[in-house]
């Protein structure tokens, strides 16, 4: 309904209104098997190959709870400072949709496994970092649905499609849903708080090892609730923007929804309680289904499952397995490495914190560890569409490259090629250097021969330099670097060149 022109500028909007946020996050747990059967959960398998009577919901089949999923949920709850229910049940959420094998989803309703927690998140402001406490309403377990692909039609949605395909590999994959209490008092920082919260959740889950949170594979999905109210007034009607699947999108979804609702409210309109669809390409959302008439899911306790009743001992045992939590870890490493918040953030954003930490522990120079893991290696991972952690680069290899740079055998450009070779499986550092012939050419006579060749090829440039135009030297240095395939030290080439021509800087 709303289009780009009926929005109010963000700052203008928040000069008038106060935002209230609420975020529901669904994350696929990293268990080897599904929530209620033993089917594999690997991403990317051929459609409908990881299915059985249980996750297909065939008549007569019955669910059995995956203990590891319960364990992961409790650990997540503990890390979020939640209380753990001594006794709770699964519930059926009933609705018809072809991606649901049973036409109900096994979830939890009024008896979540974990409840009443919080997560502190840090947001950068002009006045330095600011901490917000995001209160957690609940953390519960449920099963994922299948995945629909709509063919034909123009909207990519089920309505108007010529036909639709269903892949039930995803059906029954364990999800945890983490629901915040209303987040108030963020003001203009609302989009950043939302983003920081989701980022913190992601880091927490990775640190706990309960999920590898591959957002690009849709393993973390957020529903973002936003409402606006006048200062001191009651909270406004909220909208729910569904399936926001990246950190950047979370930020943008909050931002654009604040602008949209402000426009509705300032023109005397009424915000409709509805779900909205977020569009990655435009950063805006469009109206989905109205929730004015709340859908009735007819929840009732799942009679095919027995209650989950974690004992005190088990909960304490799980508490003992919690690793150092990300916020504490970041503070510790930042202090230990003596770096600023910004540089730390760069490392965190690159997903390199653990790798850098490990490299330093393995004796790699701290600055070098940070430089390689957030720079060249991150670029290579990105180019190859790999996770940083998937790169087959060891601390010993980084150390060796550093040694070769230090003694002048390699320069940075060559070092990159060395890593490229290592990752391409061409062998260890020295093997790649030898195999690709990557040693720095430091032999003066061969450099001088290359210089003479370049000068002969560009006599006009040579003349300019002799005439005192030192800045023209770059063309000759470039030519020499080219003929030596980058294996020369450019500064040295320049010095030799000027010496050859009897010119000084």
């Amino acid at each position: 309904m709303s289009t780009a022109h009926d929005t109010v500028d963000f700052d203008e909007a928040l000069a008038m209104f106060e935002p209230v946020l609420g975020i529901e996050t669904h994350v696929e747990l990293g268990t080897n098997s599904k929530m209620f059967c033993s089917c594999a959960t690997a991403f990317g398998a051929d459609a409908n190959t990881q299915v059985c009577p249980v996750c297909l919901g065939l008549p007569g089949s019955l669910p059995v709870v995956n203990r590891t999923a319960v364990e992961s949920t409790i650990r997540m709850g503990l890390a979020l400072n939640c209380s753990i229910a001594p006794w709770c049940r699964f519930a059926r959420k009933n609705y018809f949709y072809p991606d649901m094998p049973k036409d109900y989803q096994v979830s939890q309703y009024d008896e979540p496994l974990c409840f009443n927690g919080y997560l502190d998140v840090t947001v950068e402001t002009d006045d330095g970092p600011r901490v917000f406490r995001v209160e957690i309403e609940r953390v519960h377990m449920e099963e994922d649905t299948g995945k629909l692909t709509h063919a034909g039609g123009t909207t990519g949605r089920i309505h108007g499609a010529d036909y639709s395909l269903v892949d039930y590999n995803r059906a029954g994959i364990p999800l945890i849903e983490i629901v915040t209490k209303p987040i108030v008092g963020t003001g203009v920082l609302a989009p950043q708080v939302a983003k920081a919260y989701v980022a913190e959740l992601r880091d927490l889950m990775r640190a706990l090892g309960v999920s590898d949170v591959r957002m690009e594979e849709g393993s973390l999905r957020c529903d973002v609730n936003v409402s606006l109210n006048l200062p001191g007034a009651e909270w406004g009607t909220r909208s729910e923007t569904k399936n926001v699947n990246s950190l950047r999108s979370v930020e943008r979804a909050v931002h654009s929804e604040i602008e949209r609702q402000a426009a509705v409210l300032t023109t005397g309109g009424r915000v409709i309680q509805e779900t909205r669809h977020f569009h990655e390409d435009t950063g805006r959302s469009t109206s989905g289904r109205s929730k004015e008439q709340a859908e009735d899911y007819r929840y009732f306790p799942e009679p095919d499952l027995v209650p989950v009743a974690p004992s005190e001992e088990w909960i304490e045992e799980l508490r003992g397995t919690l690793p150092e939590l990300p916020a504490l870890k970041r503070a510790r490493l930042q202090a230990a490495w003596g770096i600023g918040e910004h540089e730390l953030q760069t490392i965190v954003n690159a997903g390199a914190l653990e790798l850098v930490e490990a490299a330093i522990a393995d004796g790699v120079d701290p600055a070098a560890a940070r430089k390689w893991w957030t720079g060249e290696l991150a670029r290579i991972a990105n180019d190859r569409d790999l996770e940083l952690t998937d790169l087959p680069v060891t601390s010993a290899q980084i150390r060796r490259v550093e040694e070769l740079v230090a003694d002048g055998s390699l320069n940075d450009k060559l070092a990159r090629q060395v890593f490229d070779g290592v990752i391409a499986g061409e062998g260890d550092v020295d093997a790649v250097v030898a195999g690709r012939g990557l040693a720095v050419v430091s032999d003066d006579s061969s450099l001088l021969a290359a210089i003479d060749e370049a000068l002969a090829a560009q006599p006009d440039v040579a003349e300019k330099i002799r005439g005192g135009k030192v800045q023209a030297a770059g063309a000759i240095v470039g030519a020499v670097m080219k003929t030596t395939r980058g294996q020369a030290d450019a500064a040295k080439v320049r010095a030799l060149l000027l010496e050859r021509l009897g010119v000084s800087e």
């Binding site: 089949s61 059995v64 072809p98 499952l305």
Partner: protein, 501 residues
């Protein structure tokens, strides 16, 4: 054993098993005899929806081979059995008596079928039932009613009328039923056969197509208490695939059936299950059985279970609620019937058209009741309240079992009624299960066994024995003692009085 041959179909399972084990008769001969009997009578009885003759003969020959090779066989090896069409059997059409599942061949065996196979038993086919086990007469089967072998114009009970009729018509010596509110016991009562609803969780529900998950329980059906015990032992036991399955050893029901002793036992007569509303002949035969139990040395006292009055009402909220959810999956998307898939209808329309065409009136009625009862705003008043009643009924049982070892009542208020008599009156139909429903609500175990023919119509009357959860052996102690005394009195099993078909 040529002498036995003519009688093969009238033999007890225990006798057949022994004869097969001792080589007096082959499993193949026994199977053929039953398939021939089915051929001869099932056109009139219609106990079976599906006859798996070739597979049965093949399985029988495999048993004979095993025996000849000296491989040890189980206590029921080679004995034929009929399986209610509510249990999945790999590759064999499984319909639950519904059009919506027509043509569906499950890719997996239910736990019960697995155990029957493991016991080297011979599955003859799938038996008729009320659609999705909703009914007390088998008239709600989409594939036509089953007829009571005692009187072909009468119902064989339901929902497991097919299994009970197969026993009474000597088409199979053993059968599997499922009991959500009496679907094993009431058909047993009206066909003069024996049936047990085991303790909830006693027999795995894996592969038992759910009607109401918290009430459903598969169980054994036979013509004698001992045969029922042998089958009970074969199918009971823990199964990790059913979360509600009890992880504890099964009581020795076979030993209890062998012992058959009520001396010193306290037996409670449930005051609320009898008297007004029970057919005179039913009450008469029941009272005679009570006298026998007393004469055998039991102490029979009257026990009150005041909340049983509300059992039927609670049951008809809990069952439809669970069923409305359990039956949601029959939407035409993945298996079974699909209606309206012509490129013109939306997915919702195809689902609606499929369910409209695929479900019968009784199923639709219960889905609508259940959908309503679970609705927001009504949940507490209906489903929530019904669960409270359920708790009260369980407390009634607990209190009663502090005073007595088992409870007894007539199994059903009447003998078999005429086909068509109650099919248009759901409440009258529901009242058939008034005495059997409390047991399902509490998760107890119960047996129905024949105690005679009602004088007014000459049709079988059943007596129900109820025991606490995980005390299934008590049913067999009492049932076996009573059966022995009755057989002594009659000179034969009651089923021998069934008319020739």
């Amino acid at each position: 054993m040529a002498a036995m041959e003519g009688d093969l179909v009238r033999q007890e399972a225990a006798v057949l098993a022994r004869a097969i084990a001792e080589g007096e008769v082959s499993a193949e001969e026994v199977t053929r005899a039953h398939l021939d009997r089915i051929d001869a009578v099932d056109e009139r009885v219609h106990a079976f929806l599906q006859i798996t003759g070739d597979a049965a003969l093949e399985a029988a020959r495999a048993v004979d081979r095993k025996r000849s090779e000296g491989i040890p066989l189980g206590p029921l090896a080679g004995v034929p059995i009929a399986v209610k069409d509510v249990l999945t059997m790999r590759g064999v059409p499984t319909t639950c008596g519904s059009r919506v599942l027509e043509g569906w061949r499950p890719p997996y065996d239910s736990a019960v079928v697995e155990r029957l196979r493991a016991a080297d038993m011979i599955m003859l086919g799938k038996t008729n039932m009320d659609e999705f086990a909703m009914g007390s007469s088998t008239e709600h089967s989409a594939y036509g009613p089953t007829h009571n072998p005692w009187d072909l114009d009468r119902i064989p009970g339901g929902s497991g009328g097919g299994s009970a009729a197969a026993l009474a018509a000597f088409e199979a010596p053993l059968a599997i039923g499922s009991d959500t509110g009496g679907s094993i016991r009431q058909p047993a009562a009206v066909t003069g056969t024996v049936g047990v609803k085991p303790t909830y969780g006693g027999v795995s529900r894996y592969g038992l197509i759910a009607l109401a998950s918290s009430l459903d329980q598969a169980g054994p059906c036979a013509r004698t208490v001992m045969d029922t015990a042998l089958l009970h032992a074969a199918i009971a036991g823990h199964d990790a695939r059913d979360s509600t399955s009890i992880d504890a050893p099964v009581q020795d029901v076979v030993a209890a059936a062998k012992r058959g002793d009520v001396r010193g036992m306290r037996i409670g007569l449930v005051k609320e299950l009898g008297g007004d509303g029970y057919q005179a002949g039913v009450s008469q035969r029941f009272n005679e059985a009570v006298e026998i139990l007393t004469s055998l040395g039991a102490e029979v006292i009257e026990v009150s279970c005041p909340n049983f009055e509300y059992a039927l009402a609670a049951y008809y909220l809990i069952l439809p609620s669970e069923a409305s959810s359990n039956l949601a999956r029959f939407d035409g998307m993945r298996y079974g019937l699909r209606v309206g898939d012509d490129g013109q209808h939306s997915v919702e329309e195809v689902m609606a058209l499929t369910r409209e065409a695929g479900f019968g009136a009784e199923v639709k009625r219960r889905i609508m009741i259940g959908t309503y009862a679970l609705s927001s705003g009504y949940y507490d008043a209906y489903y929530g309240q019904a669960q409270k009643v359920r708790t009260l009924i369980t407390r009634d049982f607990n209190a009663a079992f502090e005073k007595v070892d088992v409870l007894i009542s007539p199994t059903a208020p009447t003998t078999a009624f005429k086909i068509g008599d109650k099919v248009d009156d759901p409440i009258a139909m529901y009242l058939n299960d008034i005495a059997t429903i409390p047991v399902n609500l509490a998760g107890n175990t119960a047996m129905s066994l024949p105690v005679g023919l009602a004088p007014e119509d000459g049709l079988p009357v059943g007596l129900q024995i109820m025991a606490p959860p995980m005390a299934d052996d008590r049913l067999y102690l009492v049932g076996s003692a009573l059966e022995e005394a009755l057989v002594d009195r009659w000179g034969h099993l009651l089923i021998e009085e069934a008319p020739e078909l």
